[in-house]
Amino acid sequence: MTNYSLSLNNVQKVFGRRLIFKNINLTLTTGRVYGLSGRNGSGKSTLAKIIAGITSTTSGKIEHTLNGKEIKPEKLHDHLGFVSPYLVLYDEFTALENLEFFTKIRGNKFDKDNAEKLLEDFQLGDRGNDELRGYSSGMKQRMKFIFALMHSPQLLILDEPTSNLDEAGKSIVYSTIKNKLSDNLVIIASNESSDLALCDEIIEIEKYK
């Protein structure tokens, strides 16, 4: 089992004059599911993006380590899976073409069988050769999970993971988190009580105002 850990040291974010959060000091470790909770606009998505290295902090430091070795920021994308309502995949390409592109840009060899298996797991097996422009919002949400999981990342950040999903979709997501991601570090940013029920620990973002 790989040992992934994430430490946030005095993390602060300010947009203009508005303080989003300050003094966040946390250590998150492999094998646990963490929930980020707080009302709308409290900074859950911002913190998720900061952890993913997409948004910079105003002050403070975030350290990602794998088996005790620090991961350089430019290599973080190899270890990270991210699902978010803001994430958009390429509509003009098919699901398989999208997955092939995401694999190749990471410098990996595209394994079509693995991609098709993931599509099957998320009940999109018969739509692999269809362009994403023909997908419903729920199907696109499931594609985002495949996008996040296909390179077997150690850290998964799931921002509102069940938005647009029906009950069947939610159940696939919940069983994936419970059964297949037990060795990963999972962070769920959500207000849905059913999403937060999966978490071992809840972090109230509003505590850091």
């Binding site: 948004t55 430019e74 994308h77 978010s84 994430l87 390429y90 003009e92 073409e97 592109f101 410098g107």
Partner: protein
């Protein structure tokens, strides 16, 4: 290899949507037609035709090359790219795509130009090809980094030519001078200083772009 994956994605996307190719082709045809109609039967010098060639190239670049980053921002796929690759890979992939687009676009413009303007006669073809080659690299490198800067702005259309003008001006002026030398049939050694300026411009812009891109790319 990673940058090639992005280049291939952009090229396939362009072949399916034909957004930049169609816009560029229409722009080139309209601009050259306007020049032809405005000249009419007047005889114009080779120098003036050479100058007008680079005016067409500059404005064509303005109309098509910003797509590299603006299309990602408009479709909302910027976040996806940020999640899957390092900034240097993204810049390299986008630069490769713009290089191909610039070369295709400028070969098309120059060929059309040579066929339609009798006074556009190049005496030293080798010198013209050298300046054309390094000039295209300079246009692609500068346009790519400017496209990245403006992609997050609200008034992209206005900002792109405004930012490009001061950055591309030294390049266009050098290219005008080199085109004049090519029309006159001057040797490569006569134009050595201008060629050196052109190569230095490319190297400086490429280095600055890679250094700056990390800051531009991150929110």
């Amino acid at each position: 290899m990673k940058a090639l994956a992005l280049f291939s994605k952009d090229w396939n996307s362009e072949l399916r949507t034909r957004y930049a190719i169609n816009a560029l082709a229409m722009f080139i045809l309209v601009t050259i037609s306007v020049i032809l109609f405005s000249i009419g039967t007047e005889k114009i010098s080779g120098y003036l035709t050479g100058g007008l060639l680079w005016v067409v190239i500059f404005f064509s670049a303005m109309s098509g090359l910003s797509r590299a980053f603006v299309s990602e921002e408009e479709r909302g796929t910027t976040l996806t790219l940020q999640l899957i690759a390092a900034p240097a890979t993204i810049y390299s992939g986008k630069l490769l795509f713009n290089l191909l687009l610039v070369f295709l676009m400028n070969i098309f413009i120059t060929t059309l130009y040579s066929l339609l303007f009798e006074s556009f006669v190049i005496e030293n073809f080798t010198l013209f090809v050298i300046s054309f080659f390094f000039g295209n690299i300079g246009i692609a490198v500068s346009s790519t980094i400017i496209a990245a800067i403006i992609s997050k702005a609200s008034s992209k259309g206005t900002l792109y030519p405004v930012l490009s003008f001061p950055i591309l001006l030294p390049l266009i002026l050098t290219l005008l001078e080199l085109t004049k030398f090519s029309i006159d049939g001057d040797t490569i050694s006569d134009a050595f200083v201008e060629i050196a300026v052109l190569v230095c411009y490319d190297v400086i812009m490429l280095t600055a772009s890679y250094l700056l891109f990390d800051f531009i790319w991150k929110d």
